[in-house]
Subunit: 350 residues, 2 copies
C-alpha cells in the first residue's frame, strides 16, 4: 500500500517520540512491502517561533493532501501563564482539527497485565478493563465564541451543539459498540445544560436504529466517579468535547501510564493519530519520554487502513517490551531505557 503520511512533531517531547514512531513505520513498510512516504511540518509553539503561526498554511496544506497525519504533542508553559498571549500553540491543534473536520476522537483504554501493579487503582478493579471513549472534537465550548469585555473584567465562552454534530459521532460510536460488547454510555450534564439535553434527545432518537445496543446515561460528575469505582462497566463512552477531554485523561490512570494511550481523530476525509499525553516540556530533550503512545498511535494508523497484521506486529512488539521491562522510567523505574533505546528495541522486533 502507498501512503503519504504527514508528520507533525510539535512541541516538548513531541519530536523525540514521533521519531520513534516513524522509525517503526518505516520498518513496517520494509517488512510488509509498503510504500510509506513521510513529510514533516511545523505546528504549535515551534511553529510560532519559526513562523509566528501555530498552524502555518504549508502545514495545513500538507495535512490536507496526506492520507494520514502523525501528530506528536503541543503546548509550552511560556504561553500557559500568559493570559494575554494572543497566539497560542494549542490554536494550531484546534484549528487543524476544525479545518480537517476531525470530529471524532477515539481513545481506547485497556490494561497490560505487567503494568497492573503500576496503576494507582487496585488490580481487581481494573483487570480486564476494555473501553473506548468517543469524544466529539470540533464542537462545544472549545470552538464557541470567546470574548473578554473592554475593561477586561468579564470573560465569556459559548458552548453550542447542533443535532448534526451529535448525530455523526453518535453513529460512529453506536457502530463501534456493535463490534464490541454492545453497550454505549452517553455522558452529559443534562440536569443543567441545554446542550446536554440536546445530546440526550438526539442520541436517544438514533438508538432506535441500533436496537442491539444497550444505551445508558450518566451525568459527567457521576461518570468521573464511576470511571474509578468500576471502570469495567464501560464499553463505549460517547461524550462532548470538554467532558471527553477530562474523562479520557482521567481514564488514563487505569492503564498505569498516560504514556501508553493512543488516539485517532477521524473526519470525513482526513485522519490524525496522536498520543493523548501532552508535550511534557520538563522532559523534553532528556531522552526519558515514553514513545509507546506515539508508536501505538502509529498502530492505530495502520488499523485505519486495514493493515491489521501490520498493526498487530506493532502491538505485539509493545507487549514484549513491556513484558521484558524494556521501558522508559515512567514505567520501569529500576533499569530504565531511553526513548531511543525503547524505539530501537521495538524496531528490532518488527
Amino acid at each position: 500500500m502507498k501512503l503519504k503520511i504527514a508528520v507533525l512533531p510539535g512541541d516538548g517531547i513531541g519530536p523525540e517520540i514521533t521519531v520513534q514512531a516513524v522509525k517503526i513505520l518505516k520498518s513496517i513498510a520494509d517488512r510488509f512491502d509498503h510504500d510509506f512516504h513521510f513529510e514533516e511540518a511545523a505546528v504549535g509553539a515551534t511553529a510560532i517561533d519559526q513562523f509566528n503561526n501555530p498552524l502555518p498554511e504549508a502545514t495545513l496544506d500538507l495535512c490536507k493532501e496526506s492520507d494520514a497525519i502523525l501528530f506528536g504533542a503541543i503546548g509550552h508553559p511560556k504561553y500557559d501563564n500568559d493570559p494575554s498571549a494572543k497566539i497560542r500553540p494549542e490554536q494550531g491543534l484546534l484549528r487543524l482539527r476544525k479545518e480537517l473536520g476531525l470530529f471524532a476522537n477515539i481513545r481506547p483504554v485497556t490494561t497490560y497485565s505487567k503494568l497492573i501493579e503500576m496503576s494507582p487503582l487496585r488490580p481487581e478493579r481494573i483487570e480486564g478493563v476494555d473501553m473506548v471513549i468517543y469524544r466529539e472534537l470540533t464542537g462545544g465550548i472549545y470552538f464557541g465564541e470567546k470574548s473578554l469585555n473592554d475593561e477586561g473584567t468579564s470573560a465569556t465562552d459559548v458552548c453550542t451543539y447542533s443535532v448534526m454534530e451529535i448525530e455523526r459521532i453518535a453513529h460512529l460510536a453506536f457502530k463501534a459498540a456493535q463490534k464490541r460488547r454492545k453497550k454505549l454510555t452517553l455522558v452529559d450534564k443534562a440536569n443543567v445544560l441545554e446542550t446536554s439535553r440536546l445530546w440526550r434527545k438526539t442520541v436517544t432518537a438514533i438508538a432506535k436504529q441500533y436496537p442491539d445496543i444497550q444505551l445508558e446515561f450518566l451525568f459527567v460528575d457521576n461518570a468521573a466517579m464511576q470511571m474509578i469505582l468500576n471502570p469495567k462497566q464501560f464499553d463505549v463512552i460517547l461524550t462532548e468535547n470538554l467532558f471527553g477531554d477530562i474523562l479520557s485523561d482521567e481514564a488514563s490512570v487505569i492503564s498505569g501510564s498516560i504514556g501508553l494511550l493512543a488516539s485517532a481523530s477521524v473526519g470525513n476525509k482526513n485522519t490524525l493519530f496522536e498520543p493523548i499525553h501532552g508535550s511534557y516540556p520538563e522532559a523534553a530533550g532528556k531522552g526519558i519520554a515514553n514513545p509507546l503512545a506515539a508508536i501505538l498511535s502509529a498502530a492505530m494508523l495502520l488499523d485505519h487502513f486495514h493493515l491489521t497484521e501490520e498493526a498487530k506486529a506493532i502491538r505485539d512488539a509493545v507487549e514484549i517490551s513491556i513484558k521484558l521491562n524494556i521501558c522508559t522510567q515512567d514505567i520501569n523505574n529500576e533499569y530504565h531505557y531511553s526513548t531511543e533505546k525503547v524505539g530501537d528495541f521495538l524496531d528490532g522486533l518488527i
Copy 2:
C-alpha cells in the same frame, strides 16, 4: 446559642438522611445547652409534585430568614430522561444557591483509616490525603443563558465569569490555605477557554496579597488525572463551577465512599450544608442510605458557628461508628445497619 435551621430534605434518600442529621443536632443542643429551632420546607421533585415549583417562595423565604440551611438531596430520574421537561428538580437547588448568593462550595476530602481498604485506590496513594475543594457555585455555565433554536436543532449554553466572582471565592480559598498547608492549586483550562484565562489572571493578581501561599496551576484534564495518581499533592483546590462539580465527585472515591462527604455552601449572609452525594432514588425508602454525609454536614454547620467542641463530638462519633463497623451497607457489606440504626448509634454517643 440560638439558631434557626431550615431543613430541606428534598428527593430520594434526602428525607431519611436528613432526619438522622436533625436528630443528632437536637442531641447536641440538649447536651451543650443550645437552642436550635428546626423548620422544614419542600424543594426539588417533591416540591414540583406538591406545588409545581422546585423552589416554592415559602421555602426561599424560610431559607432567607434562617441562620443556616440543612439540605438533603435533589433529583429524580423521571426528569433526567425527559429533555423537554420545562420544570426540573435541580432548578430548585440552583435557584436557591443563586438567590442566597452561595458562591463558594467547600468540600473537604480526607480518609478514614478503617476505610482505606474500601477505596478503589491503593492505600499508599491515599493514606493521609487532606484536601479541600473550593468550587465556585453561582457562576459559569450553570447560570449562563441557555437556548434552543426554534427547530430544536441547535442548543447553546453560555459560560461567563467576572473578576468580582473570581475574586470573592479566591480570597476565601487563599485564607483557607493560610490555615492549612499553604498551597493553592487553581484548576482551569486556560489553554482553551477565555473564562479560564480570566481566572488565571485574576488569581495570579490576588496571590500577591498572600505571599505565604504557594500558587500552582493545573489544566482540568491533568487535574482529573493527578487527583487519582497523587492526591496527596493537593491542599486547597480552587476552581470554577463545572470543573468543581466533576472533580469533587471524582475526589470522593479517595475516601472510600461518597456517602461520607459533606459540603458547606457559603455566601455573604446565608449558609447551606449538604452531602455531596445525590438523591440516589434506587435506594430511597429502603433504609439503606448512608446518613454520615448528612451528619457530617451538620458538623460543618456547627463549625461555621464556631461550635467547635460540638462539631468535634459529631466527628468523634462518626469515627467510632466507622471503627466499630456500625455502618450502612455501602461501607459494611457484611453486617450492615439501617440508616436509622446508624443514626441512633451516633445519637447515643452524643
